[in-house]
């Protein structure tokens, strides 16, 4: 663990207020913030684990459980809500067999809600990994998710 993270730590040695940036980089590397990772970050920053967890748990971006190979993010922002974002989410939940905020048992998909991607003019919107899909319908959602399932 320490070896994996030492590069990140080195880049932020002695930097003021680096906690969040460090946590972001750790999560990018490991996929989530494990107990051990939090403990390493705490050691590096000379803070307590509770403090680190307190900061991390405040922000929606941080995950404390492993996430799936594909991360499906359904937008539930205002524009998407008005144009049926909730139905898109329900269809995704149904298709993947998990509720929002969860990961499938085979670690293929994680399903998350996002407050807004800023692609409101193309609502409703869903982002799978880094691909943005706009002007969705429930039928399109099922087709898109099947595509990733086949990969």
């Amino acid at each position: 663990m320490q070896n994996q993270l030492s590069e990140i730590f080195k880049a932020h040695e002695g930097e003021k207020g680096a906690v969040i940036t460090v946590l972001q980089k750790v999560q990018e590397k490991l996929g989530y913030l494990s107990r051990e990772a939090i403990s390493e970050v705490a050691k590096f920053l000379r803070m307590s684990e509770t403090e680190i967890f307190g900061i991390a748990s405040f922000y929606a971006q941080f995950r404390f459980t492993p996430c799936g190979k594909h991360v499906v993010r359904v937008c539930l922002g205002t524009a998407c809500h008005v144009r049926g974002g909730e139905e898109i989410m329900k269809t995704a939940e149904n298709k993947l067999g998990i509720e929002r905020g969860n990961t499938t048992d085979d670690l293929t998909f994680s399903l998350e809600r996002v407050a807004c991607f800023g692609s409101c003019a193309l609502s409703p919107v869903m982002v799978v990994d880094k691909d943005v899909y706009g002007r969705l319908t429930t039928t399109k959602v099922r087709a898109i998710l099947s595509k990733y399932n086949a990969d």
Binding site: Y59, G84, G118, L122, V132, T137
Partner: protein
């Protein structure tokens, strides 16, 4: 150390202009494609591949440039083609299927395809194609902040410089800081983050605060759902924001700046990073900027997904690496901000305005807008409107002009019901206020706020009680929990609204909501709590009957609230085609070939898919509220009468 510190700004500019001119007068055809996030959502990246492949197949050498978004999101993906010696022509709504033909027709056979063209730019006319800026969506707009978006390559600093970029910085550096402030005062610019505090005054406070170390911050934590003005600007023209920041830092006397940008905007973050590296190379950033003796370093801080961090004191806490919670003011950040030092925070759009004001002068800027609200403002026009997109209009324009002239009215010819300005902290304004001007004072008087510029249009099919519940779900979840009235109050308001939308509303709920809303408003430290009740208060003020319908008649007039509506298949109309059966996402429909289909009300998630896919000529799926329909218990054969098709 800048690599070309020997070059003066004039030499840099000369080089940029030469490059720009060579690009504009290129002997090869030029193709511009909008690949900002919104363009990508519409498929711009796969379109780009198709374009490159077609050009190879047609053996055409062309320059293809990725540009930002021009704001006409409803026409995405968009491509502009400029043939040597011909005007620039813009095309919209393109697909991988029709673009190869368009390239062949225009680039080889010289047919500009007026059927696909939106308009041409400049003076030279093109037969059969209108001028781009006479389009209804653009006519009322004044593009100052967005002037470069969609026209320049946002990853090429020379494009920005060739279009007057950084001349504002050069001018500012030649002036005394107090003269820069004087120029801003003349412009009448007010904070574009929503509160509308005069920018020159804010800068002056921070400038006059006694301290050796000061900071400036660019607030790019655009958290309002339904707003994407800042994202588009950062993706389409990042240098305009950065130029404003250097001017501000020089005026205030700060040597360190931060940009706090949401992690949900990866492309904006990437382009900011590129832009900053280019500035350092040219000596617009770093030590001894353009030989003035002034130093500035800019650092990008990625947000981690907390709406409350858009609030200045929370944002500062987050940069310091703490939980992003607000603190009481005073002391204001201008006196004690980041790490206790004087700090000036402005929104992305404000910084971009500063750059153009220094380029063209305060007086020039103040010709737009009204007496108290000068200049232009960008809005993200979304929801149930025909032409969704990013618009920039002079302040003082009416809501009607924005929604009906720019936005083209309501989608599918439905009736306008309300418009939400200012995101979840704004208010819902009804049709009777459509003619009120959009400026800071008028919107506040109507119970809403200017906000950062989200504008969500709702039609008669939108339930305002459901909308309010939605906003409260958001603000309740995003409340940081520091102030009890906000933490507990938003939760209780949400619970009451949930009850009402479930059909369990009780007499007295409306009054209780109003009392709670007033308490939360007055008992919260930061903007989140102070404005979270706005949607509740404005919807009760303007749409009280709808609340009463939900509470007393258990009816949702807009047919939205799931617990109050149901879908039925009309047994006399169903022809047993099975389309609804095939499309139902939860397998709630039973039936068979030539059988009347039945919806299992227990399984139905009320998604409306069956309602949407049922062929128009049958229209067998019914959506009702406040009543029940009689249907067979099990699928039975369709009666043997013939289908009568309507002639059209």
């Amino acid at each position: 150390m800048p690599i070309n510190e020997t070059l003066t700004f004039d030499e840099i500019r000369q080089k940029a202009v030469t490059e720009w001119d060579a690009w504009k007068k290129s002997k090869k055809p030029r193709i511009l494609i909008g690949t900002a996030t919104c363009g990508r959502a519409a498929g711009a990246l796969s379109l780009l591949d198709v374009i490159n492949n077609s050009l190879r197949k047609l053996r055409i050498k062309a320059s293809v440039t990725e540009v930002g978004c021009i704001g006409l999101c409803f026409l995405e993906p968009m491509v502009d083609i400029i043939k040597p010696g011909k005007p620039r022509i813009s095309y919209g709504g393109l697909t991988p299927e029709n673009i190869p033909q368009l390239l062949e027709d225009y680039l080889i056979n010289d047919n500009p395809r007026p059927d696909l063209a939106l308009g041409y730019f400049g003076e030279d006319k093109v037969d059969g194609i209108p001028s781009f800026f006479t389009m209804h969506v653009l006519k009322p707009q004044v593009r100052i902040v967005l002037r470069n978006c969609g026209s320049i390559d946002p990853t090429n600093i020379n494009h920005y410089i060739a279009n007057d970029g950084y001349s504002g910085l050069v001018k500012a550096l030649s002036l005394k800081p107090e003269d820069v402030i004087e120029e801003l005062k003349k412009s009448g610019l007010r904070g574009r983050g929503g509160a509308g505090f005069p920018t020159w005054m804010k800068w002056n406070f921070c400038r006059n605060a006694p301290a050796k170390e000061k900071f400036i911050i660019c607030n790019a934590d655009e958290g309002d759902p339904g707003a994407f003005m800042n994202r588009s600007l950062l993706e389409g023209d990042p240098h305009s924001v950065l130029e404003g920041m250097v001017i501000g830092a020089y005026t205030i006397g700060a040597n360190q700046a931060y940009i706090y940008c949401r992690a949900e905007y990866p492309l904006a973050l990437e382009r900011l990073g590129i832009a900053i590296r280019q500035m350092e190379k040219y000596g617009f950033l770093g030590d001894n900027i353009l030989g003035s003796g002034f130093d500035l370093h800019i650092k990008i801080k990625e947000g981690a997904g907390a709406f409350v961090c858009g609030e200045e004191t929370s944002l500062i806490a987050s940069i310091e690496g703490k939980r992003g919670m607000p603190r009481p003011r005073p002391p204001f950040p201008a006196i004690a901000g980041l790490w206790g030092k004087p700090t000036n925070i402005n929104n992305v759009e404000t910084w971009a305005d500063v750059a153009v004001i220094m380029q063209r002068g305060g007086e020039w800027y103040s010709q737009y807008g009204t007496e108290k609200s000068k200049g232009t403002k960008t809005f993200a026009l979304v929801g149930k409107v025909e032409r969704t997109g990013l618009v920039e209009v002079p302040l003082g324009i009416t809501l009607r002009e924005i929604i009906f002239d720019v936005g083209g009215g309501i989608l599918n010819g439905r009736k306008f019901k309300a418009v939400q300005t200012g995101g979840p902290s704004g208010g819902c304004l009804p049709a009777s206020l459509l003619d009120s001007p959009v400026d800071y004072e008028s919107l506040t008087a109507a119970g809403s706020i200017m906000g950062s510029g989200g504008m969500i249009v709702m039609d008669e099919d939108t339930c305002v009680v459901d909308m309010t519940r939605y906003f409260l779900t958001f603000t309740q979840a995003e409340s940081c929990g520091k102030c009890v009235p906000c933490r507990v109050g938003t939760r209780h308001m949400l619970m009451i609204l949930q009850r009402i939308t479930r059909g369990e509303g009780e007499p007295g709920d409306i009054e209780l909501l109003q009392r709670l809303a007033t308490t939360v408003k007055s008992g919260s430290l930061c903007g989140l709590g102070q404005t979270a009740p706005n949607p509740v208060l404005t919807t009760i003020r303007y749409f009280r009957e709808e609340y009463e319908d939900h509470i007393y008649k258990k009816k949702c007039p807009a047919l939205v609230c799931k617990e109050l509506i149901s879908f039925y298949i009309h047994p006399d109309k169903c022809r047993g085609c099975g389309i609804c059966f095939k499309n139902c996402p939860v397998e709630a429909i039973s039936g068979g070939k030539k059988m009347i289909h039945i919806i299992d009300q227990k399984k139905c998630i009320k998604c409306g898919t069956c309602f949407a896919v049922c062929p128009k000529r049958f229209s067998a799926v019914m959506k009702v509220s406040g009543k029940k329909m009689k249907v067979p218990r099990k699928p039975i054969p369709v009666a043997t009468q013939k289908v009568t098709r309507k002639r059209t």
